[in-house]
């Protein structure tokens, strides 16, 4: 076998006359100190049992998305992409595309394994059939009367979204989340309107631009809030995304622009009670 990466080097001269045993005493000293094996004082000799998550797939999937919140869009994108069987290379390329502006230490393989473990993706053959369990047998060959194993060829692995995975992806309604957010945060409707407007520009909006536009608003003085607080909330609703080094509005965000415009208009209109008071005052 070719192996040129040796870590041992002929760095010493044989003529040094080094005596390897000279540095050691013949008598082995007993370690008088008490030996502690592990924090509990007992050796860990048992074989660790493999951890198997027996919860139903929908629960495991929800748990994964909760634990991997920053990767939510990537994970959902993977499930959606695998509506039909996709080769590993194709899936890896899709993950790279999804994460092009959002680097992650998770490799496509790690994310696929996490989704598989949660029950959102499954390995299948190119025909969509369940992938055979276990590794295929190696090939036994005979060369000059000697038997050898050679690595066999496994069927190509493809990835397919499971019913539970597809159901989870379909249940994801970012516009509903955005509607709820804008309803809860109606007080800050003008802030959302401003941010969505900036991100809707052709070149998007940089963070300093957004900061400058909203951070000094009276609405954000007490409690003191800053632009990233709102960007974060909008991003979780898929209303804005970081792309090509700026924040940009998405289709969901454009729908949100219309909602927020209505909110702002409603807030600008006088209250019915105030209108009645004004009418009475005018009549007098």
């Amino acid at each position: 076998m070719k192996d040129t990466s040796s870590f041992l080097d002929l760095a010493l001269d044989d003529s040094m006359g080094f005596d390897p045993l000279g540095a050691f005493d013949d008598d082995v000293e007993e370690d008088a100190e008490e030996v502690t094996e592990g924090y509990l004082g007992t050796p860990h000799t048992d074989v660790p049992a493999p951890v198997v998550d027996t919860r139903p797939a929908p629960e495991r999937i929800a748990d994964l998305f909760s634990a991997m919140a920053p990767r939510r869009r990537t994970l959902l994108g993977m499930i959606t992409f695998c509506a039909a069987p996709q080769t590993t290379d194709a899936l890896d390329a899709e993950v790279d595309r999804l994460q092009a502006d959002n680097f992650s230490v998770y490799s496509p393989a790690s994310l696929a394994n996490l989704l598989e473990r949660a029950g959102a993706l499954a390995r299948v053959t190119a025909d969509g059939e369940p992938y055979p369990e276990g590794d295929p047998e190696p090939v036994l060959v005979e060369v000059d009367g000697v038997s050898y194993y050679e690595a066999g060829e496994a069927p190509e692995v493809c990835w397919l979204a499971t019913e539970d995975g597809a159901a989870y992806a379909e249940a994801d309604k970012p516009l509903d989340r955005l509607t709820d957010l804008l309803s809860e945060d109606a007080k800050y409707a003008t802030i959302y309107e401003r941010i969505l407007g900036l991100t809707a520009q052709e070149s998007g909006a940089s963070m300093p631009t957004i900061n400058e536009a909203v951070d000094n608003d009276e609405l954000l003085k007490s409690p003191r809030l800053y632009a990233p607080h709102f960007i974060d909330k909008l991003e979780k609703c898929d209303a804005v995304e970081w792309r090509d080094k700026s924040w940009r509005i998405t289709e969901v965000g454009r729908a949100g622009q219309r909602i927020v415009a209505d909110l702002v208009a409603a807030q600008a209109a006088p209250e019915p009670e105030a209108q009645a008071d004004k009418a009475a005052h005018d009549a007098q």
Binding site: F7, L8, A11, D19, G38, T88, Y148, Y149
Partner: protein
């Protein structure tokens, strides 16, 4: 023909005219042994990368060496490689960390690949075993490269040391330097007995516990089996020496 058969044949050929043939056979056998040592060393040294995986998948693994553990090891490795896909590199990297590095601090959370851990009472690194192997390396004019950041009693380095000695045996055999061949074989045997064979089985037992993929499970078996074969090999070629010593001692009395 197994390694033992080969060396037995070589050892049986005593006439002077056959000495060159004996040394040639020994050189061939030792080159094979060194290749196995290097394969093991590479597998233990760092995670499998794309290039090494391609190399492994193109290899042929002996199916019937005569040693059950070696056969089981090769079969497990070949089986794992048969199922290798585009994500295998990542899977192996994860398993390497799980098997050899672990995530605990209790000294029982992984198959630590350092002799000191397995031979010191408190399972610490950089203990006497490290000093001893360093001394042995230096006695052979060897030292680790600065790029090697682990301690000298890492199993990969101990295996590589055996391979380097094997290379020197091949060179000495080709130069018909019998005395040097004998000295180097003796050094290999002593190093195997005093170091590798004394602790590697403890580590491979842990490796079986922590590794999840077939490659590292197979590596554990292959290591155990190969070291057994090596011990048998040295027992056989040094068989007469012990008897002679005993005879001499008896005559002296």
């Amino acid at each position: 023909m197994t390694e033992t058969d080969t060396i037995a044949t070589a050892a049986a050929a005593t006439p002077a005219a056959e000495e060159a043939t004996d040394l040639a056979a020994l050189a061939e056998l030792t080159a094979q042994r060194s290749a196995v040592y290097r394969l093991l060393a590479r597998l233990y040294r760092v995670e499998v990368d794309e290039e090494f995986l391609t190399e492994l998948k193109a290899m042929r693994f002996p199916a019937a060496t005569g040693n059950t553990a070696v056969d089981a090891g090769y079969r497990a490795i070949a089986t794992y490689l048969s199922g290798a896909d585009a994500h295998t590199i990542t899977d192996l990297a994860v398993d390497y960390v799980r098997a050899f590095i672990g995530h605990g601090v209790d000294a029982y959370s992984a198959a630590y690949p350092f002799e000191s851990v397995h031979t010191s009472p408190k399972r610490l690194m950089m203990q006497e075993a490290r000093d001893e192997v360093l001394a042995v390396y230096r006695s052979e004019g060897l030292d680790k490269l600065p790029s090697w950041k682990e301690s000298e009693d890492h199993i990969a380095l101990e295996l590589e040391f055996m391979a380097v000695l094997g290379d020197r045996i091949v060179a000495a055999a080709e130069a018909s330097d019998e005395a040097e061949v004998e000295r180097l074989l003796s050094t290999q045997r002593n190093f195997l007995e005093d170091h590798l064979a004394s602790w590697a089985p403890l580590m491979t037992a842990d490796l079986r516990r922590f590794a999840q993929c077939g490659l590292y499970q197979g590596l554990a078996s292959l290591t155990d089996g190969f070291l057994q074969v090596e011990e048998e090999f040295f027992d056989e070629i040094f068989e007469g020496e012990g008897d002679d010593s005993a005879d001499e001692a008896a005559e002296g009395e």
